[in-house]
């Protein structure tokens, strides 16, 4: 049971705004390598949100997996495919404006719907820990857990097969 002071609230809102800013930079910046750096910051920011929501285990995983593993993969891909860093090449296609209009409309509806809805929230923030999570994974969710590990294995093999240069 943790309560937040006004400082915490302010810092939280600041984090949210910061994340949104880097996320927008990620999708719009010309240089793809820079975009990858901004993506890393976005993912880091999301882990901070997890901290605020007292989901420390998830925050850890987020940093380990995303910032550690997936970002490495992305940067590898960028490095391996040439022309990516070339600033002369346009990085966005010609449907920017229609997409932006659609996104704006979606945002309008979504925010409207979220704010209109009456959320039955509980007064205190529920927390959990790694032990509880581990029990849930090994108990109630053991079957999806096994399936997902299998999927991960298959994905690994598939990735190797697809990416192999010689057929």
């Amino acid at each position: 049971m943790t309560t937040f002071g006004p400082l915490a609230a302010i810092s939280c809102y600041a984090a949210l705004l910061g994340i949104l800013t880097v996320a927008i930079l990620t999708v719009t910046v010309r240089n793809l390598f820079h975009a990858a750096i901004f993506l890393a910051f976005t993912l880091l920011g999301v882990s901070i949100i997890y901290f605020f929501l007292r989901a420390e285990f998830l925050a850890g995983i987020q940093i380990l997996l995303y910032v550690g593993a997936i970002m490495t993969l992305v940067i590898f891909a960028i490095m391996l495919t040439s022309r990516i860093g070339d600033p002369q090449v346009p990085q966005s296609n010609r449907q920017r404006i229609p997409v932006f209009i659609l996104i704006a409309i979606s945002a309008f509806f979504l925010i409207g719907a979220i704010l209109k809805a009456s959320w039955k929230t509980i007064s205190t923030l529920q927390t959990t820990n790694a032990v509880e999570l581990g029990k849930a994974l090994m108990g109630e969710f053991v079957f999806p857990f096994e399936v997902i590990s299998l999927v991960l294995l298959i994905a690994l093999i598939g990735a190797i097969v697809v990416a192999r240069s010689d057929p």
């Binding site: 296609n93 449907q95 229609p98 997409v99 659609l102 409309i105 979606s106 509806f109 719907a113």
Partner: protein, 635 residues
């Protein structure tokens, strides 16, 4: 062994040679020989059964006319059996003979194909069970005859002779065809088994029956070369000699006689028609014998003698001697085939056809000579050779039915026959050799058939002699007939033959100058005979000229009226077509094209959607999600 095999074997041989002749080459002759020999054996078996008293009849319904079935089938009765014997036996002999005679001919296989086709047609004719069927094969033998007369079509005369034979036959055949129709109209049947004396007798003497009999006789006049359509037969000698022997002496020309004999009850029931038949037969016999007296071409003499003998048969049928006519048909087939084959052998050996360039062949061609002597004796009516018996039979039936004029004319004809045949014999085989090249005897493949036929020509007549109790007459009539030799007729007949022989002997052996003086003295008679009464010229000046004029007029009419009408119609059609074409091109095609273009345009627009770019698709997906979401939340 089905009698169906009899005509079928030559047909198979024909098909085999015509399709594989190039490959078979010389061997094709032996295909034809074996087919005809086998067919001969099968027919002997069938004949044996008929002699045993079992007539064969098997047919299926071919067409229905007013619910009256027209059959197609095979029937063998004594008459057909005799004819079958003649055709298959003599046919086989002649096919064998041809192997030698036609040796070295460039169209050697084709000759045997035609011979096989002819044998098939002739056997089909003989075995026919209805008038329609006989007509079909009748035309087929005519066609084969055309092919074979014009076999050496490079020769202008041969080609023209073929055409002449075909046209002359056609004139007779039109009558025959009309006769079949009339007969069917009068009696309602075409089956030979129905044509029995009792059946015909029911409407004897009716005008329509007489007309039909005369029309049917027209066919016989054409096919059997009776006056006035006899002109084609002498010209038909342009064909190869075996063909002359088989088709234009022994078998095909006898088809007319055979047909009249088949329909004998009909003729018997129409006395007026019978009178005309007898008259024409007698006149033909006499006239042709008269022509034969002065001919110099060995084959022409034989041709006229064939016409003359056919006249004998027709006359016999006309006076009511059905068995006599058929008997003479059989004996004649033997000795005339022998005569022709002998003549062929002579031509083969001496290389000429004109008797003035022969002479003295007796020594160089002994087998041919002796067989020829037998044949000459047979045709001249010297006992006991076959011709004597059958001729005697005819004379007997003439006198028996009280036709005295016919009897005497036939008797004179017999004397003339004897004269010209011995003239032929003396000119060819006796005296000095007048030919330029040295004659030689023919090979065995030709002489063996001669010998076999000579035995037949000598002996076959005995079947109808008193010693055999007139077996053949009884067989043909179907019941024992009371025939007695009339010693008066026999004596006069022998006398006539002897007189002919004697005159020929005097003219051509004792005093070879006599014929010339005789010809000078009776120049008109001589010219009449040698120019065949100018009948060809007469036809040329009248019928043929008229026909040509009609043809020319028809041609002009065609050109001026029909062609112009056709052209006009054509032009109008073209004009209409142009309008239709315009309509098609601009209206119909336009509509079709419009449809096509519309589809293309729609496709071009719709294709823009299919960019193939993933982000376009995603964009549309998002749009769709939005629309669905909007729709869901607003309801």
């Amino acid at each position: 062994m089905n009698p169906l095999l009899i005509p079928l074997l030559p047909l198979i041989s024909f098909a085999a040679i015509i399709f594989f002749g190039k490959w078979l080459k010389e061997k094709s002759a032996w295909v034809a020989v074996s087919a005809s020999a086998l067919s001969c054996l099968v027919s002997f078996k069938s004949i044996g059964e008929v002699i045993g008293g079992r007539n064969f009849h098997e047919a299926f319904t071919w067409i229905l006319i007013n619910r009256i079935p027209i059959e197609f089938g095979i029937s063998i009765d004594p008459l057909a059996a005799v004819m079958l014997f003649v055709v298959t036996f003599i046919g086989t002999m002649i096919v064998v003979y041809s192997v030698g005679y036609m040796h070295g001919d460039p169209r050697y296989p084709r000759f045997f194909a035609y011979l096989s086709l002819f044998l098939f047609s002739m056997l089909g004719l003989v075995l026919s069970s209805t008038l329609v069927q006989i007509y079909v094969f009748w035309e087929l033998v005519g066609l084969c005859s055309y092919f074979l007369i014009g076999f050496w079509f490079e020769k202008k005369e041969a080609a023209e002779a073929g055409r002449k034979a075909f046209i002359a036959n056609r004139i007779g055949d039109i009558g025959f065809f009309l006769g079949i129709i009339t007969f069917f109209y009068a009696t309602g049947t075409m089956r030979f088994v129905d044509i029995q004396p009792e059946f015909i007798q029911a409407q004897a003497g009716s005008a329509i029956l007489t007309v039909s009999a005369l029309l049917l006789f027209c066919g016989a006049v054409g096919k059997s070369a009776q006056f006035p359509l006899h002109v084609w037969l002498p010209d038909a000698m342009e064909g190869p000699t075996p063909v002359s022997a088989l088709i234009h002496a022994a078998t095909m020309v006898a088809a007319g006689v055979y047909m009249v004999a088949r329909l004998f009850p009909l003729f018997h029931a129409c006395p007026e028609a019978s009178q005309i038949v007898a008259g024409i037969g007698t006149w033909t016999a006499f006239m042709a014998a008269f022509f034969a007296l002065t001919q110099m071409d060995i084959k022409k003499v034989l041709a006229y003698s064939t016409i003359s003998q056919l006249g004998y048969m027709i006359a016999a049928l006309g006076v009511g001697g059905m068995t006599a006519g058929t008997f003479h048909l059989m004996t004649h087939a033997f000795f005339k085939a022998l005569l022709f084959l002998g003549a062929g052998s002579v031509i083969h050996g001496a290389g000429v056809q004109d008797m003035r360039e022969m002479g003295g062949l007796r020594k160089s061609m002994p087998i041919t000579f002796w067989t020829f002597v037998v044949a000459t004796a047979a045709i001249a009516g010297i006992p006991p050779f076959s011709g004597f018996w059958s001729k005697d039979e005819i004379l007997l039936s003439a006198i028996g039915s009280d036709h005295r004029i016919i009897f005497w004319i036939l008797m004179i004809t017999a004397a003339m026959t004897s004269f010209y045949m011995f003239r032929l014999l003396f000119l060819t085989f006796f005296g000095e050799t007048r030919g330029k090249r040295a004659p030689h005897e023919s090979p065995a493949v030709m002489t063996v058939p001669l010998i076999i036929l000579a035995i037949g020509a000598a002996g076959i007549g005995l079947l109808g002699s008193p010693w055999a109790h007139h077996w053949i007459q009884n067989f043909l009539a179907g019941h024992p007939e009371e025939i007695q030799m009339n010693s008066f007729v026999a004596t006069i007949s022998i006398a006539a033959s002897a007189i002919g022989l004697l005159i020929a002997f005097i003219f051509y052996i004792l005093n070879p100058d006599l014929p010339k003086r005789f010809a000078k003295k009776y120049w008109l008679l001589y010219a009449a005979s040698s120019h065949k009464l100018w009948m060809d010229e007469m036809y040329q000046a009248t019928f043929i000229r008229w026909f040509k004029q009609i043809a020319r007029f028809s041609f002009k009419f065609d050109e001026a009226v029909i062609d112009r009408t056709v052209n006009e119609v054509g032009r109008k059609t073209v004009w209409t077509s142009k309008i239709k074409n315009w309509f098609d091109q601009y209206i119909v095609d336009g509509l079709v094209n419009l449809t096509g273009r519309l589809t293309q345009m729609t496709g071009a627009v719709l294709r823009l959607i299919q960019t193939g770019y993933i982000h376009n698709y995603l964009f549309v997906l998002l749009l769709g999600v939005l629309i669905i979401g909007y729709a869901v939340f607003n309801t």
